[in-house]
């Protein structure tokens, strides 16, 4: 088993908590892991990415080569497109559709959607809206993670376990909301996979 994942977003959107949960679940599943993060200046509202690599064999590089990523998980639509050179020809792209606009020259969101529609294997969803239905807009990350979960090759139980471990300190309510958000995202992905 080998999964190379690019996590993308804007500094402060919390892509590292997605990474932490996948990481925890991967370790639970007995996999090797390498995860390169961006710290420092870019965290001030700039574009940020994380290379997350999981494998049943030891991993060499901390960075994913171009054209080799199995999955792009993005919490922002334009940011998901920034990392297309990493995506393998058979890889999947899972992204939030809600733009994060902190600049004056942000492109027309309709044009971004048109670009996303051209990607053969993609799941685009309004994570904020689904998260709000699940109980808290803050769980948008977990909606995205849920939508990406069918492509991770990690038992769904282990992802749920990781949510318990990572959010446990914040109380049972927070865990419950995040679990619902995760499931909602997963349901959408499963429907999309069925009718391509």
């Amino acid at each position: 088993m080998k999964k190379d994942i690019i996590l993308a977003g804007v500094g402060g959107q919390g892509i590292l908590s997605i990474a932490a949960i996948i990481g925890y679940a991967a370790i639970e599943s007995g996999l090797y892991l390498k995860q390169a993060e961006v710290h420092g200046m870019s965290q001030r509202g700039g574009d940020v990415q994380s290379h997350l690599r999981l494998s049943s064999e030891p991993i060499a590089s901390d960075l994913i080569p171009y054209g080799k990523a199995d999955l792009i998980i993005s919490v922002e639509p334009m940011e998901s497109l920034r990392y297309l050179p990493y995506l393998s020809q058979t890889g999947w792209l899972v992204t939030n559709s809600k733009p994060f606009v902190n600049m004056t020259n942000y492109p027309n969101p309709d044009d971004i959607m048109k670009e996303l529609q051209q990607i053969p294997n993609s799941i685009v969803l309004d994570a904020e809206e689904i998260a709000t239905e699940a109980g808290s807009i803050k769980s948008a990350n977990m909606v995205i993670l849920g939508a990406a979960s069918p492509f991770l090759d990690i038992a769904y139980d282990n992802i749920e376990k990781a949510i318990h471990a990572v959010f446990g300190k914040k109380g049972e309510d927070v865990v419950a909301i995040n679990l619902v958000a995760l499931q909602s995202g997963r349901n959408i992905a499963e429907q999309s996979i069925k009718r391509p």
């Binding site: 961006v38 710290h39 200046m41 590089s61 080569p65 600049m103």
Partner: protein, 537 residues
């Protein structure tokens, strides 16, 4: 032994705790910050009584570490590459004094300048100081090399450099811990003159160091971190240093390249190490994260020998960090078919946070200085450097820690009036105070704006060295009391603040304006913690 999932930085910190380190001293700087952060927040380190301190700058940190080594205990000092420039004096001279307790200089380079003003290869600094260097290729080696580094340091009584780069510093992987070692007992140096670099002593010490280089080389020859693996295809031999080794192996899923491979992670690397691969291969490819150090050595000044490929002949780009794709192309693998970035994707540069006090300071300064014209504001290293970009476009320099004040003074001496320096509170205490003293002594006509957000913000909110003491310092340095002004950068204070700035811009002498409001990030963090405590009780 327990396996931990650690960043490269954290692996070094945990290893320090496990290897019997008694103290770590540093000034924050990406990508080195997390080493000291980790020790400071480690319960274990706290129970073991390990001292973990943020210092005024890298020089004071390195000297404090040297003092702890003098007293016989193991210690490390951590910095980013440009921090070693600041600590160069104690670094180079500690090679001559030597050490008593083990001493590590952990230096994190930032090739591709993700969060830095230049890219340096600190291996050159290590070579310059004639010291051993360890360059881990992965998180486990980073951990193991702290033990090895302390051993080397105590065996030869010299400081040892551990050199890492951004991708290892900030990448997480499993690390297996070793059995813990006890800290050293307090023990003074055997010779009372060991640390006295009077010329007569220093000459002897220098000779001792020169005579030890051979031993450092012998260590590198037998080091488990340097290894050679033969290959049947002798058309090319590959030398991979540090992290570059991973990028090489990434291109061979069975981890078995057909070419002979020499992995170098410990220096100084003597000629014997390269003899075999050089003599038996038709050409050599050198993969280094940083400058072409080994490549230059192998090539020689006249490049008259064997074909050596790397950064110097364009096989690999001269600037920037390596990655597996660059290495794949150097190895001659065909390019992957890739989907290009759609043209509508635009860069998203970092920006000042919503509610950041610097925004209000720069809006005030822009208005106050408008009538004088552009190009009069020198700045420094911190979040506020982002004010060079739209929509503010307020500052015209960012060179090194503290350079805002001294450059403004130089420009004022040349006749520029007003000449303004904008510097953060932490940068001011790092390297700004001495420059301010120069300006006071010369009655320079400069206006210094100290953006006091009560923290070291860019690196994640470490404590500021002179919290609530900025006015006292300025006064102590000799700035006239009625030209030390304090303002609160808030939208509603804009007119008042602009007026203060205008008044001081007109003043013929040194004036200091302290723009004081807490960083919005640390404020939010403090509020969240307060709320958490409240809900608990």
């Amino acid at each position: 032994m327990r396996t931990l999932l650690l960043l490269g930085d954290e692996a070094i910190a945990q290893a320090g705790i496990d290897a019997g380190m008694s103290g770590v001293y540093a000034y924050p700087g990406t990508p080195s910050t997390e080493i000291t952060e980790y020790v400071r927040s480690s319960k274990e380190a706290h129970e073991l009584g390990i001292v973990a301190k943020w210092c005024a700058n890298e020089k004071t940190a390195a000297e404090t570490a040297l003092g702890m080594s003098y007293a016989g205990k193991r210690t490390m000092t951590c910095m980013k590459h440009v921090g070693l420039n600041v600590a160069a004096d104690p670094f180079i001279n500690s090679a001559l004094t030597g050490t008593n307790g083990g001493l590590l200089f952990v230096v994190a380079d930032d090739p591709s300048m993700h969060s830095s003003q230049n890219e340096q290869d600190s291996r050159f600094f290590g070579k310059f100081a004639l010291l051993p260097i360890l360059e881990p290729s992965n998180q486990q080696e980073a951990y193991d090399m702290v033990f090895e580094g302390f051993d080397l340091s105590e065996r030869y009584k010299v400081p040892v450099m551990i050199r890492i780069t951004t991708r290892l510093a900030h990448s997480r992987s499993g690390v297996v811990r070793k059995t813990s070692r006890k800290q050293n007992k307090l023990r003074l140096p055997e010779s009372p003159l060991q640390f006295v670099l009077l010329p007569a002593v220093a000459r002897k010490k220098y000779n001792t160091l020169l005579n030890t280089i051979g031993s450092f080389e012998t260590e590198a020859l037998s080091s488990p971190f340097n290894s050679f693996k033969d290959g049947h295809d002798k058309s090319m031999g590959i030398i991979a240093c540090g992290l570059a080794y991973n990028y090489l192996m990434e291109n061979y899923p069975d981890r078995n390249p057909p070419f002979p491979v020499l992995k170098i992670c410990q220096y100084p690397a003597p000629a014997e190490l390269f003899r075999d691969i050089h003599d038996h291969c038709e050409s050599i490819l050198v993969l280094e994260e940083g400058f072409p150090m080994i490549e230059e050595l192998l090539k020689g000044l006249l490049a008259s020998g064997k074909k050596i490929r790397g950064r110097l002949d364009g096989t690999i780009p001269r600037a920037g960090e390596l990655n597996p794709t660059i290495v794949a192309e150097a190895l001659g693998f065909p390019r992957q078919t890739i989907t290009p970035i759609p043209s509508l994707v635009v860069p998203r540069p970092p920006s000042l946070c919503k509610g950041c006090p610097h925004i209000d300071s720069f809006l005030g300064l822009n208005e106050a200085i408008e009538s004088y014209g552009k190009g009069r504001v020198f700045s420094d290293i911190g979040c506020y450097t982002l004010a060079a970009l739209p929509p503010y476009e307020s500052i015209y320099s960012c060179v090194d820690m503290g350079a805002s004040i001294t450059m403004a003074k130089g420009a004022a001496d040349a006749g520029l009036k007003p000449a303004v320096a904008v510097i953060g509170d932490s940068t001011f205490t790092h390297s700004g105070i001495t420059g301010l003293l120069d300006a006071v002594n010369d009655h320079s006509t400069i206006t210094v704006i100290i953006l006091d957000n009560a923290t070291t913000a860019m690196t994640g909110g470490q404590p500021s060295a002179a919290l609530n003491r900025i006015e006292a310092i300025c006064k102590g340095v000799g700035v006239e009391e009625n030209h030390i002004r304090v303002m609160k950068p808030l939208r509603k204070q804009h007119e008042y603040n602009t007026q203060i700035l205008k008044e001081e811009l007109e003043y013929d002498g040194v004036s200091v304006i302290i723009a004081r409001r807490e960083c919005i990030q640390t404020l939010n963090k403090r509020m969240r913690e307060k709320f958490k405590d409240k809900t608990k009780s």
